[in-house]
Symmetry: C2
Subunit: 412 residues, 2 copies
Amino acid sequence: MHGFTRRQTVAAALAWLDAHISALNSETVPLRAAAGRVLAAKVTSHVDVPGFDRATMDGYALIAECTDGATPYNRMPFTVLGDAMAGSPFTRSVGRGEAVRIMTGAPVPAGCDAVLPAEFVEREAGSEDPASISRELPIAAIGAVSPGKNIGRVGEDIVAGTVVLEAGRALRPQDLGVMSSIGCETATVVRRPHVRLVITGNEVLPAGSRPKGFQITDANGPMLAALAERDGAIVDFPGPIRDDSDVILAALTSDADIIIVSGGSSVGVEDLSPMLVAKHGELAVHGIAMRPSSPTGMGTIGSRLVFLLPGNPVSALCAYDFFAGRAIRALGGRSKEWPYASVRAPLARKISSPIGRLDYARVRIEDGRVEPLAVSGASVLSSTTRADGFVIVGDDSEGFPAGADVDVWLYA
Amino acid sequence: MHGFTRRQTVAAALAWLDAHISALNSETVPLRAAAGRVLAAKVTSHVDVPGFDRATMDGYALIAECTDGATPYNRMPFTVLGDAMAGSPFTRSVGRGEAVRIMTGAPVPAGCDAVLPAEFVEREAGSEDPASISRELPIAAIGAVSPGKNIGRVGEDIVAGTVVLEAGRALRPQDLGVMSSIGCETATVVRRPHVRLVITGNEVLPAGSRPKGFQITDANGPMLAALAERDGAIVDFPGPIRDDSDVILAALTSDADIIIVSGGSSVGVEDLSPMLVAKHGELAVHGIAMRPSSPTGMGTIGSRLVFLLPGNPVSALCAYDFFAGRAIRALGGRSKEWPYASVRAPLARKISSPIGRLDYARVRIEDGRVEPLAVSGASVLSSTTRADGFVIVGDDSEGFPAGADVDVWLYA
């Protein structure tokens, strides 16, 4: 029950962490399951898209030159040879004075170099609606079209051989569309990190229990599971475990890429995890000059990264945000940076913080001003549900005066 | 094959839509599955958190007054009666001159009103480490503590009867933590909308096929599925179907909250869907003054909302962004607004657009400047993967000159 011998700076802790995180290997998943996943390799198209010249509008495929000078007062006659539908081409060649009725997406018949929109066409004899004009009927162009007009050329979207997406890309919905259009059945993506949550504490009841007596219900497990899943992890969380060396050691050596322990990370007599990490692996960081979360630890056991998060829920959230989440995102091939949007706004009241310590201050945004939440302790998790986000006061700063513009990282 | 008789404004189309969308009914899900879901009812705590006074620090529980004036040169003696551990209280009462070694989270013993941190304690006789001090041993306080210090009081986090989360809240990870801490086993959330995707076109091969001949591989299905899932929908997408009235009608009358059709939404001879919606329901909107996506339609069949999206992929994306996505989010209890972050930056080149038409312009952000992508057609889906986002030019605007600050909605 002595204090930490030396607290590392956040920068030093991050430097250690960044030297120990890199993207995992790849796996192949069906395209349908690839949204939001991170490409492990570039995607090159082996086909042209479109693979044929096609109409980009409903109308009449013809030779553009034959419409030169056409107006309602200078009608140019054409004979309609037939229809070209999407997936169902008109297979003969088209000559001067001939036209083929064509639908959007249909292949442009041989000989044609433009599609004349339907509104520039009238039936030659009588008042019948051009929509009902069909084969071998005479029509008149009443407007001109230039060569290439309303035709999507082979390779207009994608030329065979083009890299359509680079490695490292988090796949957007439209990326899946593009990959599908070039015939990809699967995506080669960075494997999702496996995270084992280890919530310790004899006083901790599993989520779903009603707190009673001197026992509390686990808040950190459900919170950390949701955070880790948000950041792309596959989470294994069998529920809280007792403060028992053998039980904790078994959990610390689970089959996972990352072990996140919450509770018992400090230097008290029941704080078994740091001792176990030091004994069975490397406890590289223990004690960080920040508030909350100063008892945070980091290390490795074998190839596993181990994060020792404080049991206090706000501390656990803050330490997750700074360290464990960063590792999960990096292992999954994502940006290490926070997945939070930020806004810049003036402080309603000052925030003070000593030099040498980084502070994670929960704030609300009210009427465009940033209001620090007055909270006494790291155990007040409801402060993070009342908060809109947080402001960071660096360890080289004594804080910010009222009115100063600060960056707020938004939880939602 | 005639044009749209009248194109509605985007505002009029949105007005119709907003009159037809409201949150679905609720369902109960396990807390573990509730991340990101939207609360259908407020959550009130029936318990105090914490439910007992507890130590917020490792140290010695005692009567604060008995430490008054303690310094290294004015040592105040205490007898250690025993230990209080988290979940394992010290059950006797503590009097003046007595102390109980206590761990963070442990109940504060009766009679005590403060926790003296370990660093303010020394063993009375000898140099032994205070960490190993245990029962019935004399210790000395070498610092003072004030009443209430280092104790988390009953209800400090949450008082029984408090509303901890309001209806309509999209649940954050820390919200799940708070709900768990008050004993919630489940969450009552807005039901996720069921969306049936109907991709039509005789030329369309299912995703996973290699495009060949005059056939193209479906890009819209995978894209729209990912978009709808991003916005909270449960998507049913059995694959593309043929341009056949009976087949399309069966799909349009599927068991779903929302039907999204892509392809055949225009006024060509193969554009069956608008006719079917008009015949079997209400085709309220057909043709919208925007680019791309002008052939978009909206309506209802029974209680289903039906969206007719153009087959061109960029049009389908744009029409999804404007209309179908808005409906999915609203039915799921979410904000109707775009889930895209926006940034404001100057245009590198002008964007022109006629009055009376809204434009959805794909742009890149390069060196802090907004570069419109030169793209010829709505079929060039790869333009949306090359783009960082889009700029909207309203129908009351002729566009923006080079150098003008514009809002860019970011895809990623």
